[in-house]
Symmetry: C2
Subunit: 336 residues, 2 copies
DNA sequence: TTGAAAGCGCTACCAA
DNA sequence: TTGGTAGCGCTTTCAA
């Protein structure tokens, strides 16, 4: 069986308290004893049980990351960034993918908390903020990433979605588009709503209206939904000459639909995405998209939790980063 | 503070043992008492501490998944598949991304074990199998996915890499290519080596040789390495007319390099990838690639750990799935 | 059927 | 400096 602190103490002829002190580098122990104990630990190949330690309320140096779907490159890239910064700061990151299901969100939230993470980063939308209260009670810091979260207890880092939507609209407007439709994921996703709001406002500024009928929203199978919706959109009378997709995956679905219909992008229809994941740079044609500073967001999120952990939390509850228009080949001037 | 089993017992006027039995649905308790206790638990919003339970050696119904890089769509898709099947079977999945660094592999391995996962799925290559022995000692089931692992203690599920390599070669051969180069990731990755071996063997069958100089291997920044290596390859005298890339990310790097050099794919150079991630279907041109059955692999891996957990482990230590050639637009006949 | 009590492995406080 | 010891919250005998 595995060696415990008792084994080490016995072998070294000291009390478990002494061993515990050595493990944690606390208290006062003579060099000599300390080395002796180290040796025994080594010899017994002793590994302190984090579980037992957690039970007594010790820090675990792990952060939990909750994402809606790890197979969406956007979140995979977020996860990568979070892991990176976490690691730099000495934290391990545990990732859970909720498949956008409420039940799994709840389950993983509980799980992570039970696994006693020191802090939590949430990239999943949450309807029921009540779920967070156990965390709040235990004063486990929470920051939400890429999603706003209307709770006084959670700091949030996200891109300016509203502004991003405007950017997209302006770009399309400059190219002369007037018949424009929008593809969104489920409308309960706040970032989508904001992006659309920004988009709509920019259009309005140019005297254009975006009727609700031109906004297609779907579920969470982004690729498929994007394709299906685009099929509908592009086959109708007076089809739009431009599509704004609330994320890259939707945009790719749109791209596939256009291709399937024998339409050329951007000659027949312009498409702009959102996120600027690796996907955007490799598609055919490469996707014009609104870039989110994924690296920066991941880093910032980690910094925030850890700052809260150290009680030097910035008062700033919200960190809004700048979106950026990246023009590639999927958008062009309207051909009349 | 949070309610403990003691609070519940006190409130319900019973012993903690009784409460414990209710929680676990074990032992004999009268309907009456049981309901009473349930009510109290509800009222106190009591949640059993998994940590404490884990300390006493109870199952946690969580599986750990270790991947080298979650931002590689292949592993993100694997993670998705694993999560899905795990969830179906009542298990939560905790994902850790090691960035291909030995130190992180070790750290996360320890971490997951300390967080007391019931089983482990490993998608990361491991040099030092010794690291697994603590798990083995505790008889925590381990299965490796998408990677072979030469340990008697781990079952493994992966695609036939050798066969996949052959498939790629045959395809290229049929198209008439003779000047062929190979791009691999770090050669310590066993799957890459196998793919190359298969590829080489198929070439040999056609009387063609693949000199070591034509095999470029790099580090773990797949996209960048693929691009850089392809740049070199395509700028040299008598450049290859076809490239076999050991994974899609490398292939995309190659695609970008070709584009940067003003070469057309597949007219000037054919490219075949490996994995068939979402990336392969969206690139310009879409990538001919060797498909791995990602869903099936994920599902199988989960099934295997859980079977081991239930002690109905199949004796079969290795599950090899069939790779499949998916022909898209990045390969074509040699133009002479 | 029920409950008392002995751990699980570790931390932290207090006395020595 | 050291060691004794009381928890942390739960599971699991073993008696009652």
């Amino acid at each position: 069986m595995k060696a415990t602190i008792y084994d080490v103490a016995r072998e070294a002829g000291v009390s478990i308290a002494a061993v515990s002190q050595v493990i944690n580098g606390k208290g006062k122990i003579s060099e000599e004893r300390r080395n002796e104990i180290f040796l025994v630990m080594e010899r017994l190949n002793y590994r302190p049980s984090v579980i037992a330690a957690a039970l007594t309320g010790k820090k675990t140096y792990t952060l939990g990351l909750l994402v809606p779907d790890i197979s969406n490159p956007f979140f995979a890239e977020i996860a990568h960034a979070v892991e990176d910064q976490g690691h730099k700061l000495g934290y391990s990151i545990v990732i859970c993918s909720t498949h956008n299901e409420d039940e799994r969100i709840e389950r993983y939230l509980t799980l992570l908390q039970q696994k006693s993470v020191d802090g939590m980063i949430i990239g999943t939308g949450m309807d029921n903020l009540e779920l967070l209260s156990p965390l709040v009670d235990k004063s486990i810091p929470i920051v939400s990433i890429a999603r706003e979260m209307a709770s006084p207890y959670v700091q949030t880092v996200h891109v300016g979605d509203f502004e991003g939507g405007k950017l997209a609209a302006q770009h399309l407007l400059e190219l002369g588009h007037t018949r424009i439709a929008v593809l969104a994921e489920h409308l309960k996703v706040s970032s989508s709503r904001e992006r659309i709001r920004g988009f709509r406002e920019a259009l309005a500024g140019a005297g254009l209206e975006l009727p609700d009928a031109s906004v297609k929203s779907g579920g969470y199978d982004l690729l498929r939904d994007g394709k299906r919706q685009t099929m509908e959109l592009l086959q109708q009378e007076g089809r739009p000459s431009a599509l704004f997709c609330c994320n890259d995956l939707l945009a790719i679905g749109a791209l596939q639909a256009a291709k399937a219909l024998g339409l050329r992008v951007p000659e027949d229809v312009s498409i702009v995405g959102f996120d600027d994941t690796i996907l955007a740079s490799v598609t055919d044609p490469p996707l014009t998209t609104i870039a989110q500073p994924i690296e920066a967001m991941g880093k910032l999120a980690v910094d925030l939790v850890i700052a809260q952990l150290a009680n030097k939390a910035d008062a700033k509850p919200e960190q809004v980063l700048k979106p950026e228009l990246v023009v590639r080949k999927s958008t062009g001037a309207v051909s009349k």
